[in-house]
């Protein structure tokens, strides 16, 4: 594929469609994922899970397991005593008390998986079951069983943000909606199940092959679980089958692999079966959101308050920190003058949550976007007009000081509404709502706001980049940016080719070894194209400057008149070729005062640390998306068919169009599953549907036709104007469908997923109420 610009004219690659460099290998099965890896002398590690939610371990006997031929090590809680890790230092690789179903009680390293499994079966454990806590409300009760002795009241993290006078704002409101939303537990379902391979050398240095998406802080987080120095950890990231936030923390199987490797002196691989993956992976945080929003009779928002109880689960990973993003939406989703946000995470004996694409905003937008729709209905306005009336414009600042420098919310609203003929259809469908007929059509609009230039939750949101060129004008970019399938490899390649005028295929990326590549905070917060895009561009421009300076000296032409195109040094004005780039590089390298093109860059975005009070411009950019869902509801079976999704998103500027489309489509698939069918059925702490038969992902036939509109607001701080894009598609779709369901049937669902049964029941109850002569006002509006 020759994507290089014709030397005579400058043809930009920005906004074109570029394939992922690893796509052919993945499509043909050549890629060796971490799951496929085998090292010489490697042992297999297997974990004994508790299989009960809350218990004391009375006795554990590993004698028979130890004695089994082929077993090299058996570890229990005693081998991990004191090695606390995790956000709140409440977790340990192997437990001495059971706090959730998947607590790791013992681990075995053996020659084969079969032997390891047999050894597990030989471990005798006597438990004394304890009363459990299975909802945050129950955990918050005074007489609730205590899950961690050192966390009284089962209280985990707490967050607050207030702005303005709530009482006054309530008094000034003509309408207030007041609802409780209960977003549920879902999980990432990565195609590649969790896997780690650990090996120690004789100096005590650990090499760990892992699926992590944040290799540098990973070292910091893993070290305490092993009692070693983070500097003694080398992280290698082979290709992974998905992450989506699930690999943004250390989970016990990783230190377990390392502890087994240490004990045996051999490499140890731990890999989950699909059932283990379901049970032992992090979840999206379940929450109870009590939200109130007010507005005046003419549709101006007056305040928004949210009181959130989070189901922490048994340990604290990144899940309970999601209020940091939840509150940005509560305070910044449309112009909200007065805000009151509180969130308390409560320990329970349920599976515990990590981070997951959307990071709290999926849950919050489920509530805010439905209340926007309810308010519009109650003030008798077209929701589009209501949204436009309250939409921020460029230059506005939210109560938390998010600076919406380039804001394209209005453009997104208008593009999506006009492409889908929203207002006309909404009126038409609402009029048919109570007419006879089994199948009802509905259309629903939702939007959200999200950080689009990183999020400075850690002390640094930066990235290091090293760019070098060889004597043949091949470029290697050594970058902190991890590739977990999201496509930063294509973006980096495209940017280097754009800046240095080399073919895409001449760019190699090295980004999977923490001993080689420099710091990056990780793949999260929709940040990598924004942050690594800037880092790559800056490094490439430094290299270009060095090359053009050398060319000026050698050719006697001033640098301003020169450019790099098509593998040549050319005249900027008309593209006349002057010298082959590779020849120039060799001349630079082999002359009397030799120089090599080898540049470094450290880019730190202009954003402010989150801070304890949460008043800061914590991202270098913010972005909006609007989704309009058109659905058909079978009012008898409750089945929702999504006929079409129109999505408009402020992307700043399109970099790789193919990657962008892929991210939006993939994000929508996750959001649709969340909305319609995915649900971890957890009964008293035990997962009942740990398989794909009963845990319903969206499959290909359920993917609706998509009409995507990319709005280019041209972000001053972003690479070529781009913003981060990948979480919003997951965030916005569920409430768009909920609003469409209301439009179609008059039914509101507060507790996702909108499964056929849930919808059928709600419609059935509404009809029963209507027949009984009661007025059904699902919007629970309160005129004050």
């Amino acid at each position: 594929m020759e994507k290089t610009a014709n030397p005579t004219t400058k043809q930009t690659l920005i906004g074109t469609r570029v394939k992922k460099p690893d796509a052919p290998d993945k499509a043909t099965g050549k890629t060796r994922y971490i799951n496929d890896m085998v090292l010489p002398q490697m042992l297999i590690g297997k974990v004994l899970f508790a299989g009960r939610p809350h218990a004391r371990i009375v006795r554990i006997d590993t004698t028979a397991a130890q004695a089994l031929p082929g077993v090299h090590a058996v570890l229990t809680g005693q081998d991990a005593t004191g090695l606390k890790f995790g956000f709140s230092r409440d977790n340990v690789a192997l437990k001495d008390k059971v706090r959730c179903e998947h607590d790791e009680i013992a681990a075995v390293a053996a020659e084969t998986e079969e032997i390891a499994l047999r050894a597990l079966a030989l471990i005798e454990v006597e438990y004394e079951d304890l009363p459990g806590v299975f909802t945050p409300e129950a955990g918050a009760r005074e007489d609730a069983p205590l899950i961690h002795d050192n966390f009284p009241g089962n209280k985990s993290l707490h967050f607050e943000f207030e702005h303005g006078d709530l009482a006054e704002a309530e008094a000034a409101s003509d309408i207030i909606v007041d609802n409780v939303f209960r977003p549920h537990h879902v999980t990432h379902c990565c195609m590649g199940t969790s896997c780690a391979i650990a090996d120690f050398d004789h100096n005590g240095k650990l090499t760990i092959w892992t699926q992590t998406q944040y290799p540098y802080n990973y070292k910091m987080d893993l070290a305490p679980a092993l009692g070693i120095n983070p500097g003694d950890i080398r992280v290698i990231q082979p290709p992974v089958g998905g992450a989506f936030g699930s690999k943004l923390d250390v989970y016990p199987y990783e230190p377990i692999a390392a502890l087994l490797a240490k004990k045996t002196g051999r490499p140890v691989k731990v890999i989950y079966s699909r059932e283990e993956e379901f049970k032992a992976s992090p979840t999206r945080q379940a929450a109870i959101i009590h939200m109130r929003t007010g507005c005046t009779r003419d549709g101006v928002l007056t305040f928004r308050s949210a009181d959130v109880l989070l189901d922490n689960g048994a340990y604290t990973s990144w899940g309970p920190t999601i209020p940091v993003i939840m509150m940005r939406t509560v305070s910044g989703h449309y112009r909200v003058p007065v805000v009151d946000f509180k969130a308390q995470a409560i320990y329970t004996n349920n599976p515990y949550a990590g981070s997951f694409r959307g990071y709290g905003n999926v849950q919050t937008t489920w509530a805010t976007a439905q209340q926007m729709d309810m308010l519009a209905d109650l003030v008798d306005m077209d929701p589009l007009a209501f949204h436009l009336k309250n939409a921020q414009r460029s230059g506005e600042v939210t109560p938390q000081k998010s600076f919406l420098r380039e804001c394209a919310l209005v453009e997104c609203l208008e593009a999506a509404a006009s492409a889908s003929d929203y207002s006309r259809k909404r009126t038409e469908y609402a009029a048919l709502r109570d007419a006879p007929g089994r199948y009802k059509k509905g259309i629903g609009l939702a939007s959200s706001v999200h950080n689009a230039g990183g999020a400075k939750i850690h002390k640094s949101d930066g990235i290091g980049t090293i760019l070098k060129m060889d004597d043949y004008a091949r470029v290697t970019v050594i970058t902190g940016a991890s590739e977990i399938g999201q496509g930063i490899d294509a973006v980096i390649t495209l940017i280097v080719a754009e800046e240095l005028g080399v073919p895409l295929e001449h760019v190699t990326i090295v980004n999977n070894d923490s001993d080689v590549a420099p710091w990056d905070v990780g793949v999260h917060a929709s940040r990598t194209t924004f942050i690594a895009g800037n880092g790559t561009r800056r490094a490439a421009q430094k290299a270009k400057a060095q090359i053009l300076n050398a060319a000026e000296r050698m050719l006697g032409e001033p640098t301003e008149t020169l450019d790099l195109r098509g593998g040549q040094v050319v005249f900027e004005r008309d593209g006349t070729p002057l010298i082959q780039l590779e020849r120039l590089l060799r001349q630079m390298h082999f002359k009397a005062e030799p120089e090599l093109v080898m540049v470094t860059d450290y880019y730190e975005p202009k954003s402010e640390p989150e801070g304890a009070r949460h008043i800061s411009d914590h991202s270098a950019a913010y972005s909006h998306a609007v989704h309009i869902a058109e659905i058909t509801v079978d009012t008898l079976t409750g089945e929702i068919t999504v006929d079409k999704v129109t999505a408009a998103q402020d992307v700043g500027r399109v970099i790789n169009r193919m990657g962008l489309e892929g991210q939006v489509e993939g994000g929508l698939a996750i959001g649709l599953g969340y909305a319609l069918s995915e649900n971890m059925q957890i009964d008293k702490g035990m997962l009942k549907n740990a398989c794909f038969r009963d845990y319903k992902l969206i499959t290909a036939p359920e993917m609706p036709p998509l009409d995507l509109h990319f709005i280019e607001s041209n972000c001053a701080e972003g690479p070529y104007g781009a913003k981060g894009i990948s979480e919003l598609p997951t965030i916005v779709i569920a409430p768009a469908i909920a609003n469409a369901l209301y439009n179609a049937t008059g039914v509101r669902i507060f507790n996702p997923p909108m499964s056929p049964e849930t919808v059928a029941r709600a419609i059935h109850e509404r009809r029963a109420q209507t027949n009984a002569g009661k007025v059904a006002t699902p919007a629970e509006g309160l005129a004050v």
Partner: protein
């Protein structure tokens, strides 16, 4: 998990039926056809393998659809995909083709066999309701006293509980047979699950009857996933038999459905939803027949 997997000592893939029957005669063989039920069950430890694994796919005469005579005969190894594509069945028994249409995914349909679907005896098995309304029987063969013996069991007597049938361990299901439906026969099938593709039935309903002069006769109604086995809905049938197909009759049939369906709560649906769906589907299939 593999620790519970019993060792398979012998693998057999005979070409002749008598060889297969002999290999099963002591009841110590696991029959393997498409493996789409067997593999997940053995893999999860839900059931162990027996010492002999018997692949029946190569047995001559065990597959294929014979639809020429008065009796229709579908061989045990016939795949759901073959049923779905069969022009003859589309003509004679579209209700069966309809059920094959809503079965799993293309990949699974290519492997899944009719015999395996019935022998797995799941209350959610999608081939059962249409075959029940077609009045089908199964043929069970075994080797005894140096010869093959075959018996016929009406399908409605075949199932005895979830995963259980009257088939003995030494018996092989060789074919499904049913009489060519008489002129005027109509059949309908409806199933539901939380998503359109790759779905185990939350509830399924099939109807088979003769329609003449706006009246139903020889009515058979079958339901899946509402009881421990697929069942004939006798109360619904009684409400319909000989009655004019009008709103009153349909209402009576819908009301009767509640007496036939005894669903439970499980991870896939609540008992309330299943009872609700059964009524919806009974009404839907009857309305549909009435409309035509």
């Amino acid at each position: 998990m593999s620790e519970t997997m019993e060792a398979i000592t012998t693998y057999l893939a005979p070409r002749r039926l008598d060889e297969a029957l002999q290999a099963m005669a002591d009841g110590d063989a696991t029959v393997f056809c498409g493996g789409t039920d067997l593999a997940p069950q053995t893999e999860s430890g839900a059931r162990p393998y027996k010492s002999r694994l018997l692949n029946i796919n190569r047995i001559e005469g065990l597959g294929g659809i014979a639809a020429d005579g008065g009796e229709i005969r579908i061989g045990a190894t016939t795949t759901v995909a073959e049923i779905r594509r069969s022009a003859a069945l589309a003509e004679i028994a579209p209700v069966l083709v309809e059920a094959a249409e809503h079965f799993a995914s293309e990949q699974i349909r290519n492997a899944a066999s009719l015999g395996g679907n019935l022998c797995n005896a799941s209350p959610a098995g999608d081939m059962s309701p249409p075959l029940l309304v077609l009045g089908a029987s199964v043929e069970l063969a075994c080797w005894r006293d140096g010869a093959a013996h075959t018996r016929r069991v009406p399908l409605e007597q075949f199932f005895v509980g979830p995963g259980k049938s009257v088939k003995r361990p030494e018996e092989l299901l060789t074919a499904v047979v049913f009489a060519r439906p008489a002129p005027g026969f109509v059949g309908r099938f409806r199933k539901s699950g939380p998503r359109p593709a790759l779905e185990i039935s939350t509830v399924s309903v099939a109807l088979g009857a003769r329609v003449a002069d706006g009246r139903l006769s020889e009515v058979r109604v079958a339901m899946g996933s509402v009881a421990p086995t697929p069942l004939r809905a006798r109360h619904v049938e009684a409400a319909l038999e000989g009655q004019p197909l009008d709103a009153t009759t349909i209402a009576a049939a819908v009301a009767a459905a509640a007496e036939d369906a005894q669903p439970i709560d499980d991870v896939r649906a609540s008992a309330w939803y299943r009872s609700h769906l059964v009524k919806v589907f009974v009404e839907e299939v009857l309305d549909d027949v009435r409309g035509n």
